[in-house]
Point group: C2
Chain length 417, copies 2
Amino acid sequence: MTAQDTITRADTIKMDGADPIAHLRDRFALPEGDIYLDGNSLGALPHGVMERLEVAVKDEWGNGLIRSWNDADWYPAPQRAGTAIARILGADDDEVIVCDSISVNLFKLLVGALRMRKDRKIIVSEIGNFPTDVYINQEVADIMGCELRCVMPEEVESAIDDAGIDLALVQLTHVHYKSGRIYDMAGITKLAQDLGALVIWDLAHSAGCLPVQLNACNADFAVGCGYKYLNGGPGAPAFVFVARRHFDAMNQPLRGWHGHAEPFAFTQDYKPHPTIDQMLTGTASQLATLALEKAMEVFADVDMTVLRQKNMALGDLFIALVEQELDGMGFGLASPRDAERRGSQVSLTHENGYAIMQAVIARGVVGDFRAPDILRFGFAAPYVRYVDIWDAVAHLREVMETGEWRRPEFNEKRAVT
Amino acid sequence: MTAQDTITRADTIKMDGADPIAHLRDRFALPEGDIYLDGNSLGALPHGVMERLEVAVKDEWGNGLIRSWNDADWYPAPQRAGTAIARILGADDDEVIVCDSISVNLFKLLVGALRMRKDRKIIVSEIGNFPTDVYINQEVADIMGCELRCVMPEEVESAIDDAGIDLALVQLTHVHYKSGRIYDMAGITKLAQDLGALVIWDLAHSAGCLPVQLNACNADFAVGCGYKYLNGGPGAPAFVFVARRHFDAMNQPLRGWHGHAEPFAFTQDYKPHPTIDQMLTGTASQLATLALEKAMEVFADVDMTVLRQKNMALGDLFIALVEQELDGMGFGLASPRDAERRGSQVSLTHENGYAIMQAVIARGVVGDFRAPDILRFGFAAPYVRYVDIWDAVAHLREVMETGEWRRPEFNEKRAVT
C-alpha cells in the first residue's frame, strides 16, 4: 500500500507473490488473456480432465464397451466422486454420492425427510432462495399436504420458532446465489433440530470455496453442485449428502434400479440399498461423472481454510478497489461487507448492470448478470489472482468512463445471462 | 444355403455382401477381433463423438467457459438432440427432449398424466416390466393414491377392459428387456384411449432399432434411453416425448428452473414453459448431451424400415444357427420366434447361463446375462454383420463342447452382470 492507503497494481502483484496457494492456478487450462470471475457459475477446466475423457471414450467405451462397467470400475464412480467431495465438506467418505441434478436430489430429500416427520406440516425456507429450490419446495409441499413458509432471511429464525413442534423441515441455501450471504449452518441446524425438525442445506455456492463442516454442524441432509467451484464441467452432476444416522429411515421417492439393494437381481419389489447408494435412481452419465471425479483431484491436497482465507481476501480487495476506482458511478454493494458473512463472490448493483456486464465480458473480464440489476463476480481461489482483481476493476472503470456499455450490442438480451 | 439347408459360414458372408446398410458399420470405432452383441445394453462408439467432445472440452469449456452457453449454443442442446431422436420415432421435431434418466422422466410423466385424470385411480402395467418402471409406478401410485395393477403380458388387454372408466393410465415397455417381445403400440393405445385413459410407453429397447411411429399410433407420452441403440455413451441422458396436444395440460412435478417459461427471470413462482422444454428440470450435463447429439448423426440418412429388416434377419439367422449348432445342449428360446413380434435381440435360457456368458465374453463374443437364466444377444443392425452371428454361435458351441464354461473364473459373480 502507498502512504495514502491507495491500492496500486504493484501491491496486488506483491499479494500474488505471497499467496500460499498460487501454484493451484497451474492445475487449470485457462484462456489466454481473460480474467475469469465466474467460477461460481461454471468452474474452469482442470488439466487432466480431457485426458481422462479420452481414456473413458476411446479405451473404456470404444474398446471395453459393456465390460467397462466392471473392468474400468465405472459402476462405483458415483461413490468415488462422492468420497472426494465428502472430504472437503466435513462429511464421512460414505455419506456423499454424485448423481442427477440439484433439483432432482432436492426432490428426493424433501419427500424422504417429510416421510420421517409425518405428523408435522410446516416447511420453512427463504424468499429469494434459488428459484429451483423454491419451485421444488412448493411442489413437494403440495404433494405431501404441507405448508411452505418462505420468509425474509432475517426472519428465518423466528419462523422456525413460530412453527414450533409443527416444523417438519427447514430448507435453505447456505450461500445465497445473488448476494453471497452465508447462513449460520450450525446455529440454524441446532435451532430446527431442538424442535425435532430436519434441515436440508443447498451447498451450490459453498462446496469448493468454504470449509463446510457438515458433521461438525450435525447436518441432516445436503445437496450441491458439481459444475461451479468443483470444476466438474458444464452441467456436471450434482451431489447429495445424507448423515449416516438417517440411512435407515430415509425413503426417497425416485426409486430407480441403481438405488436398489440388489440392482442386478432385477426383482419387482423395491428394497432400498442400506448405504448412501439408496439415493441413486437411474444410470448416471459416466462421461460426466468421470470428468467430475477427475476434476476433484484439484482439491486432494488443499487446505480449505487456506483457500477460504484467499477468497475472503480477494473479495475484500475487490470491494476496496470498487470504492477506490468506481466511486460515484452508480454501483452499490449487494453482498455483505464482512468477508466472514460472505461466500466466494461479491455482487454489485447497477441500474445498467446487464449492459455493463456484457461490455466487460467483451473485454475478457467474465462475470455474470442476475436479474434485475446484479453484477456477480466470483473469486475461485484456486485460479483467480490478486492482480486479476485490479485489472477487472480497471476494465469496469474504463467501460464506465468511456460509456462503452451504451453500445447497442451490449444491450441485446441473450438466451443465457 | 447347401442342399441340406445347412447354413454355412460362407452363406453368411454372402448375406453381408448383399446387405444394403453394411456401410453403416464404418461409422463406428469397434474393438478389433470382438463380436459385440450387447448394443441393447451399451451402444458402440460412433466415430466423431471423441472429436466433438474434444471441441466441447478444450474450446467450449476451457476457452469459452460460461460464454459457451450462448456462443457454442449449449443451451438448446437438449432440444437439438431431442429433434434428432424425434425423427426416428415418428414424432414431430418439437415433441422430444433429452434430459435426466428414464426413471426420472417416467416419474415426471406418471405424476403429470395422473394429474390429467384426477378422477381415475387405476394404473395398469406388466409383471416383469423393467424393475425401475415397476418401482416408479408403485411409488407414484402410492403418492397419488392410485392402485397399480401389474398383470401378465397376455392379460394387459383384459386388465384395461376390467378397469373401465376407472383406468387412468397404462404404462408399458414397448420391447421387453429380457425377452424382446413387442407390444402392439397402436392397439393398446387405442384400447386405453377409448376408455379415456392415457398411455406411457418406455422405448428403452425400441428407439434406434424399430420404426416406432409415435404419432401414427396417437401415442400420448414416452420415455427412452440414449445409451443403448442410440449409441450416446455409457449412462447417456434419456429422452422424453409428450404429444403436442398435451403440452398445455401437462404439469410435471420435478419443477426445475430449466423447465420454467423464463428461466433467467429468476422468479419465485413456477410457470411451466409452454413447449416440450417444460419437461426439463436442472442443468443437463453438456458433455453427455453433446455426445448423444453427435451420436445421432449415425441415423441421419438411415431408413428405419431397412434397418429393421436387417435386425429381424440377424435374429432369425441366430435362432436358426442355435438350432443347427447347439441342439441338445440345454438352450431354450426366451424370445418370440416370429421376428415381427421381437425387438432387436434374441434371448436364450440355460441353467448355466451366467458362466456360459462369461466364457463367451472371454472369447470376445459380448452379450449379457439377466437373472435368473437369460443369455441376451442384441443385434444392433448398424454394426453387426451376418458373419458375426455365425462366429458367435460357433464360439458358443466350442464353449459347450469343451466344457470351458465350468472354469472357476467364469462362475464368480461380478458387480455388474
